[in-house]
Assembly symmetry: C2
Homo-oligomer: 127 residues x 2
DNA sequence: CAGGATCCCTTAGGATACTG
DNA sequence: CAGTATCCTAAGGGATCCTG
């Protein structure tokens, strides 16, 4: 038993944690944070780094991250325009706990897939 | 800069991490895991522990967690029926990295809300 | 008690086209 | 280049009713 690490945090009626976790729970935020983990990137660089993101979702995700203060957006008034995205210290500080979670996912992947396969077997045998 | 903790993991085309993170990224999984962090619980106990979850979503979330091998479901063939849910060692092992993330959310909450308020100010001033 | 089945609405998100 | 606007579909998820 893991010492109820998260107990009181989540049950709270106002749920101070959920509005934060809801953000990183979407499909792209983690990937964008990751792509920015090595430093400043431009819009198109991010699109190349995350091949299957649509330009719409990339733009939306970046706006949200900017609004939440996790990255800064720097516009250069040149032609053609150029926009740089950089993690703030706050955004950067998220990479560490996120790394814990991702490493768990990597090491647990095999076990999870095995469990899914077992569940599939059971279902197949029953039907 | 946080040492590119998550880099290679996420960019992978087959994205071994996303199918795992997609699960915990939903609205209820984290809350259910938390409610089970202190030990075995029954269906109704979980509903009480997470007041605003619908029975449908609780059932669905529990099924998914069972399929993924994060918890076990034990049915007692009594009348009325009774079903116990317990985290597996795998499920329990998720509580630790999750705790890191939740503590980050708690400590960062003020900064994020301040950033959102600032963004709101900017928008209000512009319009 | 512990759900399954059904209905319905809202949101996430892709595709495409257009612009400063 | 870096987006915004529009349209559209699929999935998430609530409410309600039914049952072994």
């Amino acid at each position: 038993m893991s010492l109820r690490l998260i107990r009181d945090a989540v049950i709270d009626p106002a749920c101070p944690v959920r509005d934060v976790l809801d953000r990183i729970g979407d499909r792209w935020t983690v990937l964008v944070l990751n792509a920015l983990s090595t430093g400043t990137r431009r819009f198109t660089e991010l699109r190349r780094a995350i091949p299957d993101i649509s330009q719409r979702m990339l733009a939306k995700t970046l706006r949200t991250l900017e609004t939440d203060g996790l990255l800064t957006r720097t516009v250069f008034p040149t032609i053609p325009p150029r926009v740089d995205y950089t993690l703030t210290p706050l955004g950067d500080s998220l990479l560490e706990p996120l790394g814990h979670l991702i490493r768990w996912a990597e090491t647990s992947r095999a076990a999870i897939h095995a469990a899914r396969a077992r569940a599939g077997q059971v279902r197949a045998a029953r039907d």
